[in-house]
C-alpha cells in the first residue's frame, strides 16, 4: 500500500466541508471571545487606576468590587479546566441541569452551537488576560493627560486606552486565535463534523492514515497561516508609533 495521490483528491470535498465548519466555529468563537474577553478584561480592572481614577464613593467601590470578582471568577474557572470538559459540560451536562431545575422536558443544545459557545467562553477567558495586560501597559501619564483635558472615563477608555492597548494586543491575540482554531478539533468528541472529524471518518472507511492526516494537517496549516497573515497585516497597518 504505497502513497496514493488519488486518495487525497477523493477525500478533498469532504475535508473541505469539515474545514468550512472549523472556520465557522473559529470565526464566531473569536468574535464572541473578543466581546467576552474585552468585558472580562476591563472588568478585572474595574475600579483601578488603570481605567482612569479609582472610585471615591462607597457605591461605585462596591459595584467595582463585584464586577472584579465576577470577571476574575470567570477567567480562573475557565483557565483552570480543560476545554474538552467545558465542551462536554455545555453539550451534555448543561441541558441536564436545565431539565432538573425547570419544567422544560426537551432541552437540547445543537453540537455546533455547543462548539461555538465553548470557543467563545474559552477564548474569552484568555483574551481577558491579554486585554488586562495590554491596558495595564498603557503609560499612566497618557491617562493623566487625557483626564486633565476634562474628558470622561468612557472617552478615556474609548479614545486613548483602547487604541493604544489594542495595538499591543495584536501579537498575543494572534496566538489565541490560532489556539482556538486548533481547539475546534476537540469537538470530535461531541460529534461536530469539523475537519478532524471528517478526516477520522474517511480514515475509518479506507484506512489511508498517511494521506488523510497529511491532508488534514496541511488544511489546518493553511487556515492558521491565513489568521497569522491577517493579524500581521493589521499590525503593520497600525504600526504608527
Amino acid at each position: 500500500m504505497g502513497f496514493e495521490f488519488s486518495v487525497i483528491t477523493d477525500s478533498i470535498p469532504a475535508l473541505l466541508e469539515g474545514a468550512k465548519l472549523t472556520w465557522i466555529i473559529t470565526l464566531l468563537g473569536i468574535v464572541g471571545g473578543m466581546i467576552f474577553g474585552i468585558l472580562a478584561g476591563l472588568g478585572r480592572l474595574a475600579g483601578s487606576e488603570y481605567l482612569g481614577e479609582a472610585p471615591h464613593n462607597t457605591l461605585s467601590k462596591t459595584v467595582s468590587t463585584i464586577i472584579r470578582y465576577l470577571s476574575g471568577g470567570y477567567v480562573e474557572t475557565i483557565r483552570g479546566t480543560p476545554i474538552i470538559v467545558q465542551a462536554m459540560f455545555i453539550y451534555f451536562a448543561f441541558p441536564m441541569l436545565v431539565k432538573s431545575l425547570t419544567d422544560i422536558e426537551r432541552f437540547r443544545i445543537e453540537a455546533l452551537t455547543a462548539a461555538v459557545i465553548t470557543i467563545i467562553i474559552n477564548a474569552g477567558a484568555y483574551i481577558a488576560e491579554i486585554v488586562r495586560g495590554s491596558v495595564m501597559s498603557v503609560n499612566k501619564g497618557l491617562l493623566e493627560a487625557g483626564l486633565s483635558l476634562g474628558i470622561s472615563r468612557f472617552q478615556l477608555i474609548a479614545h486613548i486606552i483602547g487604541p493604544i492597548a489594542f495595538r499591543r494586543m495584536i501579537p498575543p491575540l494572534g496566538n489565541q486565535f490560532i489556539i482556538s482554531l486548533k481547539d475546534t478539533s476537540l469537538f470530535i468528541v461531541i460529534g461536530v463534523g469539523e475537519l478532524t472529524r471528517q478526516g477520522q471518518e474517511i480514515m475509518a472507511s479506507n484506512f489511508r492514515a498517511l494521506e488523510i492526516w497529511l491532508t488534514v494537517a496541511i488544511m489546518y496549516l493553511i487556515m492558521t497561516s491565513a489568521l497569522a497573515v491577517s493579524l500581521r497585516t493589521l499590525e503593520r497597518k497600525m504600526k504608527i508609533f
Binding site: 471615591h56 503609560n139 501619564g141 497618557l142 493623566e144 493627560a145 487625557g146 483626564l147 486633565s148 483635558l149 476634562g150 474628558i151 470622561s152 472617552q155 479614545h159 486613548i160 487604541p163 493604544i164 495595538r167 504608527i240 508609533f241
Partner: protein, 246 residues
C-alpha cells in the same frame, strides 16, 4: 475679585507619608506664579492637586468658585478650566500633532471636528508648528512635542495653565523654544499660570510671584527678584546656590 485658585489648610498624604503640610495660598487671575524647591519638596504634588490629579487629603481647594471636597462631582468642570503641561509631554502617540490638539475641543468641549481642527491649526501656528500638522509625536523632537502639548492644553480654552517642570526632560538647546512659548502665553494672552520649574531666568522675567517650597511647606514667597536677591531662610540660600551653579 476673589482669587481664581485658593488653597486653605490643604494637606496631602500618600499612605503614611505626608507630602503637603497645611498649605495656604492663592493665585489671582492673570498672575504668573513660579514654584521652586528641591526634589521631594511637594511642588509637583501641589499643582497636581489643583486639577485634582491628586485628591487633597484635607483642607479646602477652590478653583473658579468650585469647592473641593464639597463639589467632588464637578472635578471635570475644574479640569476644563485648568490646563496642564507635563514634564514627559504625554502626547497621545496614536494621534497626529493636529489630532492631539483637536482632541480636547472635540471630546471635552463637544465641538464638531472641523471647528476643533480649525482651533488646533491656529494654536499649532501660535506655538510655531504650523507645518507639523500631520506629524506623529514620535516624529517630533522633545521641544516640538512639548510645544504641541502646550497647544493641546490651551485648546480646551482654560482659564489657568499648570506647568509641571515643562523643560526638565528637554535637551538644553530645546529649553529656550519652550520657555519662549510660555512667555508669550503669559505676556500676550495674560494667562493665569502656575509653573514648577528650575529655570530661574524665566522665574525672574515672567513670574509675578515666586514660591519656595521645602519639605511640603511654603517657606518663602514674594516678588521673584526680591526673593532671589535676599533669601531669608538658609534653606533657600543653599537652594539658590545650587541652582545658580548649574
Amino acid at each position: 475679585m476673589p482669587p481664581i485658585i485658593e488653597m486653605r489648610d490643604v494637606c496631602k498624604s500618600f499612605g503614611q507619608t505626608q507630602v503637603l503640610h497645611n498649605i495656604n495660598f492663592s493665585i489671582d487671575e492673570g498672575e504668573v506664579v513660579v514654584i521652586i524647591g528641591p526634589s521631594g519638596s511637594g511642588k509637583s504634588t501641589l499643582i497636581r492637586c489643583i486639577n485634582c490629579l491628586e485628591m487633597i487629603s484635607s483642607g479646602t481647594l477652590i478653583v473658579d468658585n468650585i469647592r473641593i471636597p464639597e463639589h467632588r462631582r464637578k472635578i471635570r468642570d475644574i479640569r476644563l478650566e485648568v490646563g496642564m503641561v507635563f514634564q514627559q509631554f504625554n502626547l497621545f502617540p496614536h494621534l497626529t500633532a493636529l489630532g492631539n490638539v483637536a482632541f480636547g475641543p472635540q471630546k471635552s468641549r463637544g465641538m464638531d471636528k472641523s471647528k476643533a481642527n480649525e482651533i488646533a491649526s491656529d494654536l499649532l501656528a501660535k506655538v510655531g508648528l504650523a507645518d507639523f500638522h500631520n506629524k506623529l509625536p514620535g516624529q517630533l523632537s522633545g521641544g516640538q512635542q512639548q510645544r504641541v502639548a502646550i497647544a493641546r492644553a490651551l485648546a480646551v480654552n482654560p482659564k489657568v495653565m499648570l506647568f509641571d517642570e515643562p523643560t526638565s526632560a528637554l535637551d538644553p538647546e530645546m529649553i529656550g523654544e519652550v520657555l519662549d512659548v510660555m512667555k508669550s502665553i503669559a505676556q500676550q494672552s495674560g494667562m493665569t499660570m502656575a509653573v514648577v520649574t528650575h529655570e530661574m531666568g524665566f522665574a525672574s522675567q515672567v513670574g509675578d510671584r515666586l514660591i519656595f517650597m521645602d519639605e511640603g511647606r511654603i517657606v518663602e514667597e514674594g516678588k521673584p527678584g526680591e526673593v532671589m536677591k535676599n533669601p531669608k531662610s538658609t534653606r533657600l540660600t543653599e537652594f539658590l546656590g545650587h541652582v545658580k551653579h548649574h
